[in-house]
Symmetry: C2
Subunit: 425 residues, 2 copies
Amino acid sequence: MKHHPQPPLPFTTDSQLSVIARTYGTPLFVHSEESYLRYGREALDIPNAFGLAVRYAMKSNPHSAILKIFDRLGIHIDASSSYEVRRALAAGIAPGKIMLTGQETLQPQHVGELVEKGVIYCCTSLTQLKIYCELFAGSGQGVSIRVNPGLGSGHNNRTNTAGPAASFGIWRDYVPQAIEIASGHGLKITRIHTHVGSGSDWKIWEKAASMTLGIVQEFPDVTIVNLGGGYKIDRMDPEKSIDLQSVFSIIKRDFETFARETGRELYLEIEPGTYLSANSSLLLASVNDLVDTGAHGYRFIKTDASMTELLRPMTYGAQHPIRLLGKSGDTLRNYVVVGCCCESGDIFTVKEGDPETVDTVELPEADIGDTLAIMGAGAYGIAMSAKNYNSRPICAEAMIRSDGSHVLISRRQKLEELWAREFPV
Amino acid sequence: MKHHPQPPLPFTTDSQLSVIARTYGTPLFVHSEESYLRYGREALDIPNAFGLAVRYAMKSNPHSAILKIFDRLGIHIDASSSYEVRRALAAGIAPGKIMLTGQETLQPQHVGELVEKGVIYCCTSLTQLKIYCELFAGSGQGVSIRVNPGLGSGHNNRTNTAGPAASFGIWRDYVPQAIEIASGHGLKITRIHTHVGSGSDWKIWEKAASMTLGIVQEFPDVTIVNLGGGYKIDRMDPEKSIDLQSVFSIIKRDFETFARETGRELYLEIEPGTYLSANSSLLLASVNDLVDTGAHGYRFIKTDASMTELLRPMTYGAQHPIRLLGKSGDTLRNYVVVGCCCESGDIFTVKEGDPETVDTVELPEADIGDTLAIMGAGAYGIAMSAKNYNSRPICAEAMIRSDGSHVLISRRQKLEELWAREFPV
């Protein structure tokens, strides 16, 4: 993956970002309301045969300001834990707009409380399904289940969200048992959830959708099909991102064919996270130091950000475009851009998919005090970072509103908050 | 790396851990005061020629209870950031016992404040050195510098803390410039810090020590040599752990030879983190669900812990012994042990050094509600975890005191604390 020198900013300008960096300090995430709205509208606009709900996978960035932007657009919530459900409720999201599809098996009374509030509970294992069906036996309450359809790009690769090496969902062979559990409690399975994390290849998406519809054949009462998330945004090369219009044109056709053959008009749900949030936020970092390891070594830009703000490069070898603000690209140098943690892996420029190997990025000649924008940081940025490592307080976040003004949406953590939960021995 | 079925607990018993799990809930870190004391005493007991200071690398686990245990033993502090310095001071550590060797270049006034308090400041770059020397020009204040001696096991591997792909320390070719900066301000360099992260191989340690002494030759005023950390603990196979006695017998001999040849008796400092803390804490997790992917797939234990407590397997392919409490090892099964985050990489059993690939561990037949001990979690466990991902509150921590009693040392984070720093847009 080639880093382009001085990639363009996805929203705002060098000069506005410089003002924002001076106003709130760095490291700082800067979000764009307009960008969230744009991606949200794109997702709501996808072709569909018989209706669509878009659920924002809030694990990608659970800030209440972002939840509310999507809520105002009519986007619902995909919660991955009971904690996320409570966080969305606290942000003012209506319970009926939240669906929990989580790995935790909750205590029955907690499932009951959520469902009685109106939250939709999607059962991701036979254990969860039994708990749910026992709670609501004979009640007429619909049942949602997540199925692992068995599709995966490898047998034991961790990036699979489906297939034999994934623990998510009820394994396809156990579908008859799932039906038996529901019907044994006088309940009907009305929603099937699959999530195969299929990237940007429309052929894989077509296969995933047709597999899912094949599974739906076995569930006569299903009216809603949730295809989960995994709509790939290529942060480095937007042209390689998923073309939602094309992919969902194909899926729409499949749904129409299914309706002709079965008389069943299925409602579609999708759960994008990265697609909605990745390019709507960037991380501002200051150039804190410049060092090198001699003629045969590397030049390093040391930043005041780190794996405590953005862990994806270190964990997944993820690529993020990096721009040095306010500098011309006439003279370029190769730099390794590193974080400020005392951790050898705290590097922002690693080989794609190979976080063990240092890579460089071409940037204009940097000076201490310059500001870098590390882009594509909106999804699984602050949400998944190694917070408080090296006792670093969690950074602040700002939002550029649609009217062009900016505002702080999260204050920087106070240092003493790091040990506020400690007791003396 | 073969996981041994039902590995022994490093401290405590199945039944005490079961009581602790019931008392405080899971996920929970359980620390052992006695184990910290044992490793601390071992470190203080290493052979040395002309005196020794042991500094605990507090980034591995900065809890005040642990800092105080080591402080009472006479172990000093290695701080990796100014935040860690303030945290150690807040825990009651005397400033003179704290040395900051950090990647951040602080503002001159902050360097001044720390040094005037009595904190030792080790300059890790020429920029930091200039700031320090300008502040203390002609004052008689000693100067500490970290040097990158150029030793590393590969050219561009991120696990290096030294060598051309590491940004830590002043590159060896720039030693003359460092000397010039100090002498130009009427100051003497009195402490050399190197950290080559050398693992358990005594030959590499010998080479690292002799390289460091070679560098010290160039600094006539150096009286203290700090060899940093990197003393490898093998969590799976303790017999492969570093033998501190043997390694430091060799280094002691080198220091003695150096003294005979130069008349200079060098004081030794070391900065263990993992060595002091890795095996002194374990993570308790409950079996939350059991799922499988059919006859040709895997059996999974889903736990109520996750990458939000222990990130090392997912990031580094790190191996941690796992024991199912209170179960006999008569009938064993192969399990993939996974976390409860909606993240495909949230797996505790990955191939060694290859976090992309799922692995299994042999355990007794598990039941929902059983408790697992994930061992060797004391270093870079809670300290480096992906806190708050999936909006999970930070877990609680307990300590088994030397008298056998147990006490909560960190309460579980309250959910609403996760969004307490947020402002409405």
